[in-house]
Symmetry: C2
Subunit: 313 residues, 2 copies
């Protein structure tokens, strides 16, 4: 087995190309306290894991005691060997406390792929032509709740604090990691207004790029139809200036509402008068083919004659 | 003006609290080549920019010549002052070649917010209670093209390379940064199959969390209805094993297709037989209220009686 081929999800260790002796002793492995002051200067190699796309990943340990110059030499020799072996990409996973090793890697052409909390991931494309490496998440997801009371014909709207224009809008906010969009709508409506509600359907989707509130990334904004379960408004003083139940038909034509709010109001008016099946995208839960993880799928409700019997999906 | 208050988008400079003398000379400012070897050890402060949410941002220059220990002392003193002044958060923007300054910041509690290409952003929450800082992008966006030929009743499908199961699926792939979802569908269909097409509508949306192909982030998968403009299939050999025009009704019941592909086929069958207005979400372009940037909005087409006259939107 080549030093570059290590099965499973091993923590990166350092090995000399021929005899697998550690290039830089791990903390505690040197017999004395602290780091070795004079790491070997031979051209060591980094041990990585191959992925099925022809890339190689190196995971640095949070407690490894690494010298930046020796690391750079080892990385340079490793990159050379990975290229010779036809690897198309190198991935470097760096714990935040090992960030002193990032600049040496950058000097060899590595760049940030992403970073979050305690860890950064850097990549270097080794294949031919431009990089074909997958990017990182490109969108934040915000969800608004259109809470409509069919009995009174009124809809719940708010005005944000800290805005230059005081326009009526639907309560809503950013999805938490791992949160289904309907749950985001219900949670945000409650946090901003104190109104409890239940998810009914997805009404619309907006895609907007270079979003100022998304660190330059794209924004996906979804509007859900919610059924109110309580009506008393208790505004969040940090986020909202005003909150109200407004007549739906009035809001649909109100210049004091944002364009997307008026549009959502018109969709709801259409649904309220002619049946919500005209505007709703309903949610279904299905298992992913390769992982078995469940996902939520939203589209127009299929009439029974286009559905398959339960279990035959 | 406090040393922490600097208008505009200034590059961070280092200033002593009282006399604005630089704590660490910039490269070239010391009169000699390279870095100062003995930076002043006094408790300097970092100069940052205030944002309207009560946070303060420090931008390190790519060429600043900074000593890690002096930086840590200055950052610690600055954090103390920001806390006293009631700042709720600190943001640290670090060029990749200055990554040696990340670990000293991490030792003071800073963590990665995000990183991309040549730059990392770290944050420290200074306010009360749990952090209320906005997260970074949480979703990758993939788009599939359902290219349906109304004349023959056939739909374009492919089988991926490198999958454990060879199932028919719609061609598609990840959105490039800043790309509208309809454009992604058309581009991916062409790259994978050589078939040219035009965007017609959005058919469905899937949200899936902890996606293995998304570095643990969430995945938003959108299916678009496309109109074919060419029919000859020239498969991308890197991505596709097979490609074919299959009968839509057959695909809708085909166990050799992924569940989401069968579902999309049934939606198309419904539309093909009873009118695509039954299943389509059509796209509209609107200007954002606060920035004027254009965005795309997708929802059921509104009948004329629910629309407003052009220009009155």
């Amino acid at each position: 087995m080549s030093p570059l081929l290590s099965g499973g999800c091993l923590r990166a260790v350092w090995a000399r190309a021929r005899d697998a002796r550690l290039l830089v002793p791990h903390r505690g492995a040197s017999g004395g306290p602290g780091c070795a002051r004079d790491p070997p200067t031979g051209a060591g190699l980094l041990r990585g894991e191959l992925d099925r796309f022809g890339g190689v990943s190196v995971r640095l340990g949070a407690l490894d005691c690494l010298d930046a110059a020796a690391f750079q030499r080892a990385l340079q020799a490793s990159v050379q060997q990975w290229r010779s072996a036809g690897r198309v990409a190198a991935w470097l996973h760096v714990p935040i406390l090992q960030s002193a090793l990032i600049a040496p890697a950058a000097a060899l052409g590595f760049r940030f792929h992403h970073a979050e909390a305690d860890s950064a991931t850097l990549t270097l494309w080794l294949g031919e032509g431009p990089s074909r490496l997958p990017g990182y998440a490109t969108h934040q997801v915000g969800v608004a709740g259109a809470v409509f009371d069919e009995n009174t014909g009124k809809i719940l709207v708010v005005q944000d604090r800290n805005k230059s224009k005081n326009l009526w809008k639907l309560p809503g906010g950013l999805s938490e990691p791992g949160e289904d969009l309907g749950d985001t709508a219900v949670r945000e409506v409650f946090e901003e207004t104190g109104v409890r509600s239940e998810f009914r359907s997805l009404l619309s989707l907006r895609q907007q790029h270079r979003h100022p509130g998304a660190f330059g990334k794209s924004d996906m904004y979804l509007v859900c139809r919610l059924q109110p379960r309580s009506f008393a408004i208790r505004l969040c003083p940090h986020e909202c200036l005003r909150g109200a139940w407004l007549d739906l038909a009035t809001l649909a034509a109100d210049a004091g509402a944002t364009p997307i709010t008026r549009r959502a109001a018109r969709l709801l008016l259409y649904g309220h008068r002619e049946g919500f099946d005209k505007v709703d995208l309903t949610a279904d839960t299905l298992p992913a083919v390769h992982t078995g993880l469940l996902y939520k799928l939203y589209h127009r409700e299929l009439p029974g004659r286009y559905k398959v019997p339960a279990g035959a999906e």
